[in-house]
Every structure is written in C-alpha cells, then in structure tokens.
C-alpha cells in the first residue's frame, strides 16, 4: 500500500526540482498529455482574468491621477498624492471608526445570538414544533436586504404596527427610524432577525456531533439539565464558536453595504456612513475622482486581507482548520 505513492512522489519530485532541459521536456510532455484539462480551464480562466485580476491591476489608479481620455493605463503617475488627500479627509476617518464600532458591536450583540438560539433549539423537546420554528427562523436569510428593510421599515415606522400597539397601550409614539441613536441597535436587531436562525444551523450540527455517552455519564452522575448544557454542550461546541468568532473578526472592515444602504434614511445618514457607504458616495454620487476613490478602495482591500490572514493564522494556532488550506 505504501509503495505506489512513494514512487510517484519521487517521480514528480524530479520533475519539479531539476530545472534542466529534460525536466522542462517532461513538463511539456505532461502538459500535452493533459491538454483536455487546459481546454476545460478556459471559461473560468477568462472570467478570473477579466473580472478578478484585471480589476486588481486597475488598483494602480490609487497612485495615478485619473484622466478620462487616457484611461487606467495611460493616466500619469502621481505617487502618494491620492493618499495624502484621503488621509486629510475627515469623512474617511469617520467612516473607518464607524465601521470598526459597528462591527465591534456586532461581535458583542449579534454574534452570541445564534449560539443561544442553537442551545435553546437543542433543548426544546417538541419535535414537530421545533421543525416548524426552525423553518420560519431560517427563511429571512434568503431574502434580500431590500425586502428585509422594507418589511422592518413598515413595521417600525411612525404609523406602523409597533407604534399602533404602543399607542393603543397608552404609550407614546417612538420614532425608531429617524433617530440617530437607534440606528446601530436597529442594525443589530435586523442582523439577528434575518440571520440568527440560519447561523444557528452550524452550531446545531456541531451539537449533534457530540458523543452521546458524555450525556449519559452525566445523567448517571445526577447532573441536572442545566449542568449538562453548561458542562457538556457548551465546551463541546466551543471550538466551533471560537473559529466563527475569529472569522467574524476577519471581516471587521466590511460592514455590509446592502443592509446599511437600505436601512439608512435622510435622518440617519450621518451615523450610517461606514467605509463601504463612503466609497459608494465618493465614487457614484457627486463629483468623482476615480484616483481618490481607488485609493480608498485599495486601502479597504488591503486591510480586509490583513484582517482575514491574521484571523486565519489565529484560528490555526488555536488548532482550528482555518479558512484557507
């Protein structure tokens, strides 16, 4: 059994290591032998070149002064001039700090929701009812933010259902949507409303993978149900929780364009300007300086990558599988 992989290993080893003529010929022969594979690669290769790598090359505009007539490649270089302008723009720094604030809040308020939900669903004993509520909980995930925002706006507007009930109970009308202070809470609530059910699936399947003997032993030892949750279920899904937590940290610079763009309105647009909204505004609304907005875009992409790589590294150090290889 150990024989075949060994020989194949040495074979491919010689192909790669020897940079001499015979090595090159072997590669060419191998390429010719696999020509059909390369044909199959063509559609995806065209796509990745045109719509992934060519735009990446376009990021050079961050260091150029964009001239419409010269295009991306012909525009003159300008060094770090764009970045000097970006770093002087207070709106830029505001959007960065707002993005980080919103996402830190998400880690605190949104992240635990699916864990709690999964723990609760797991303990619920009514099988049929459980299936029904899970079906309902998961559904909003598949709706667009435009739909979700429309539904929630209808519900929370001044003449919406919630305010009707409040006034019927003798309370005052609350302006949920036009209040800057309520905007970030509104983001978290809508996050949970839309996504908690779907995200809880991953924890539920982690729970279903727990060795049942542990529960039985605990039961024999007289552990209460509560103790079983705290001392068996929770520790067993902790690896899943920590990996997802780290991965969420990797997205600290992305605050969800569709959600915020559709939930904001004239009254809350000041607090809603996260990095993605800022990039959209400077690029597609008002006067456009593509060099400037590409500079911001590149900044965002680089930091996104750094956060993701750090998150991945940490996850691997903690014994997780990591997202990439």
């Amino acid at each position: 059994m150990g024989k075949t992989p060994k020989t194949s290993k040495t074979k491919s080893g010689t192909v790669i290591t020897s940079a001499n003529a015979t090595g090159m010929r072997k590669v060419l022969i191998s390429m010719r032998k696999h020509w059909q594979i390369y044909v199959l690669l063509i559609p995806a290769a065209i796509w990745y070149i045109m719509f992934a790598y060519y735009p990446m090359a376009g990021l050079q505009l961050a260091f150029k002064t964009y001239k419409v007539r010269e295009g991306i490649w012909g525009s003159p270089w300008c060094g770090l001039k764009n970045y000097e302008a970006v770093f002087r723009d207070s709106y830029f720094w505001n959007s960065i700090s707002r993005t980080l604030m919103v996402n830190l809040g998400r880690l605190i308020f949104t992240f635990p929701a699916p864990v709690l939900l999964a723990l609760m669903l797991n303990e619920l004993r009514m099988g049929k009812y459980k299936k029904f509520i899970q079906t309902v909980f998961t559904f909003p995930h598949f709706l667009s933010w435009v739909i979700v925002a429309s539904i929630l706006t209808n519900l929370l507007s001044i003449d919406g259902l919630v305010n009707s009930v409040l006034t019927a109970l003798g309370g005052n009308v609350i302006n949920f949507l036009g209040n800057e202070k309520l905007f970030t809470p509104h983001l978290y609530v809508s996050d949970i409303w839309k996504g908690a059910g779907y995200s809880s699936i991953i924890y539920l399947s982690a729970i279903s993978g727990i060795d049942q003997d542990q529960y039985e032993a605990a039961e024999i030892d007289g552990a209460s149900r509560w103790q079983r949750i705290i001392y068996i279920t929770l520790p067993n899904i902790l690896p899943t929780i920590s990996i997802l937590f780290i991965m969420t940290c990797g997205n600290l610079m992305t605050a969800g364009f569709d959600q915020i763009f559709n939930l904001k309105n004239a009254a809350t647009k000041g607090v809603a300007e996260v990095l993605d909204i800022y990039i959209y505004r400077i690029t597609f609304e008002g006067s456009t300086d593509f060099g400037f907005s590409t500079a911001v875009s590149l900044f965002r992409s680089v930091f996104n990558m750094l956060f993701l790589l750090i998150a991945n590294k940490v996850s691997k150090l903690l014994g997780g599988s990591g997202l990439f290889g």
């Binding site: 191998s30 390429m31 696999h34 059909q36 594979i37 199959l40 690669l41 559609p43 995806a44 796509w47 990745y48 719509f51 790598y53 060519y54 735009p55 990446m56 376009g58 505009l61 295009g71 609760m120 303990e123 619920l124 004993r125 509520i133 309902v136 909980f137 998961t138 559904f139 598949f142 667009s144 435009v146 739909i147 539904i151 209808n154 519900l155 003449d159 259902l161 009707s164 409303w193 059910g197 699936i201 991953i202 399947s205 049942q212 003997d213 039985e216 364009f257 559709n262 690029t283 597609f284 593509f290 590409t294 875009s297 965002r300 992409s301 996104n304 990558m305 993701l308 997202l323 990439f324």
Partner: protein, 297 residues
C-alpha cells in the same frame, strides 16, 4: 443503541420549568419573525379606507386586490421581473459551466500548474479590487447600462466552486481512474460519470445562484441606470423610497385616496418575496449540506 435509550429516557422526563421557559422564549422569537410577514401580507390586501380607520391591521375585513392592481398599472415591477428573470435564465447556466469545469480541472490531479491555478483562485477570496476598478473595467468594455455587466460580474462564485470541488473529491476515485484507463476523454468523464453522480451538489449550487441573482441589488444599482432594465430589487427599493416622498406629499395635500402607497409598497414586497418562498422548500432540503461543506473547507 445508546441514543435510542436516551431518547426514551428524555421523553419520560416531565415537562419542567425549563421546558416552559424555552417554549415561551422560542415562541416569542417566532412571533417576532412571523408577525412582520403577516403584517405585510395583511396590508397588501387591505383597502385604503380600512387602513385609514386603523393601521393596526391583523387581517382585513374585506380583502382587496386593489394594491396589486395599482402596482401592475405602475408597470415598473414588470421591468424588474423581466430583468431579474433574464439574470436567472442566463446567469445560472453560466455559473454552472464555469464552476463545474474549473472544479473538475482542479479535481483531476497531476497536470502542471494545478497548484498555481488553485492559489490564484483562492487568492481572489481574500483580495479583490473592489467596486471602483470593476466599474472602470465594465465601462471600458462598454458594458455599463447593459444587463451583461451584472450577469458577467456574477458569472462565477468561488465559494460555490469550492462546494462542487469538495463534492467531486468525495466521489470514489476508482470510477474516474478506470474510465481514464479505458481511454475516455476528460470531457466524457466529466459529463458521463462525474456530473450524474453530483446531482445533489449541482442542485444546491443552482438554488444558491438563483437566490443570489434574484436578490441581486448592488451591481444592478451601479451598472444599470437605464429605464428599460432595472432589477427587481432596484424596482422594489424605488417603489418603497419614492412612495415615501409621495406619502408625505399626499398627506399634506390630503389627496391620499388617489393611491394607497403603503398598500402598493407591501404588494411590491410580496411580489418580490413570493418566488423565494416557492423555492424555499427545495432550498431547505439542501442548504444544511451546503453550510457544512463550506464550513469544513
């Protein structure tokens, strides 16, 4: 064995305080999700007169299709449907071809450059140019204001490709190897052997892409600024946003009975949402698997 005895034991345990608390909490969350939907449905079928008497609509006394009629008369929703259905009809096959061919090529080991291709593909998952260069590329290709900008930008999804790739890797290797030794071409192996065995994952990806394209909003907003082509989500947003303006104007001028804006808005939400509801039972059958494979990677 141990699982079944445990189940029996659990069933024998009485319905305690904890069960009651769980039941109440979960039911509360259930209501938080259900009531907004019921409210949307109710308002879309309510007449303006009834709505004015009380905005607290649980279910209309005299259901009416007036709001839907008004929505159709407005006509924008039809443009939305036309555009989004075109996305799905063209985009799903493109995605499927791109993902399966790439996944298959990566799945077949031993060809020079495989590692490099895999690295280049994975790299796009952590780094991308962002929307600004993408816009300039589409502009230089002359694709802005055509649906092709959106369809091509959404033509490939690396995450879906990895789902398929992982599934291919789980297939018995002997099947492919023996076909290879029999001299079958790669194309034959892919179409005759691998794809027929991969129906579950292909169904999953088709459903994912359908939902993704149905919900397409961002790219459409950036690339489609014509009156002729507008994605459904764009149309929905413009209806919801525009009628907010109309709403206040109508209230000020007290001519609200001309058209019932809240009703039209909710009818538009319904019309956009119902197709997803129809696909949902199928989605539900597959998405757990999808998340799991995605999580393993």
């Amino acid at each position: 064995m141990s699982a079944t005895t445990k189940m029996k034991k659990r069933k024998r345990e009485s319905f305690g305080v904890m069960d009651a608390v769980l039941f109440i909490l979960l039911t509360l969350f259930l209501l938080c999700i259900l009531i907004p939907f019921l409210n949307v449905i109710a308002i879309s079928f309510t007449s303006y007169k009834e709505y004015m008497q009380s905005t607290w609509v649980i279910w209309p006394k005299e259901p009416t299709l007036a709001a839907y009629q008004e929505l159709l008369n407005d006509g924008r929703i039809l443009i939305g449907y036309k555009t989004t259905i075109t996305y799905v009809l063209i985009g799903v096959p493109i995605n499927l071809v791109m993902c399966t061919t790439l996944a298959y090529a990566l799945f077949r080991k031993g060809w020079p450059g495989r590692k490099l291709v895999l690295t280049l593909v994975m790299f796009t998952m952590i780094f991308n140019g962002g929307i600004v260069p993408m816009y300039l590329v589409m502009k230089s290709l002359g694709l802005t204001n055509t649906i092709w900008a959106v369809i091509l930008a959404q033509g490939m999804n690396t995450f879906n490709m990895i789902l398929i790739y992982n599934y291919f890797n789980s297939l018995p290797e002997a099947l492919v190897e023996s076909a290879n030794l029999d001299g079958a071409s790669e194309w034959t192996i892919l179409v005759r052997i691998v794809l027929p065995l991969s129906k579950p994952i292909l169904a999953t990806v088709v459903l994912f892409v359908m939902v993704q394209l149905w919900n397409e909003y961002f790219m459409s907003m950036i690339f489609l600024r014509s009156k002729e082509w507008q994605s459904l989500q764009q149309v929905l947003r413009s209806i919801v946003m525009d009628s907010q303006v109309v709403d206040t104007a109508a209230q000020l001028a007290d001519i609200g009975d001309r058209n019932f804006t809240d009703g039209i808005k909710m009818a538009a939400v319904m019309v956009t949402m119902v197709p997803i509801m129809c696909v949902y039972p199928f989605l539900q059958k597959y998405f757990t698997k999808g998340i799991m494979i995605g999580a393993v990677k």
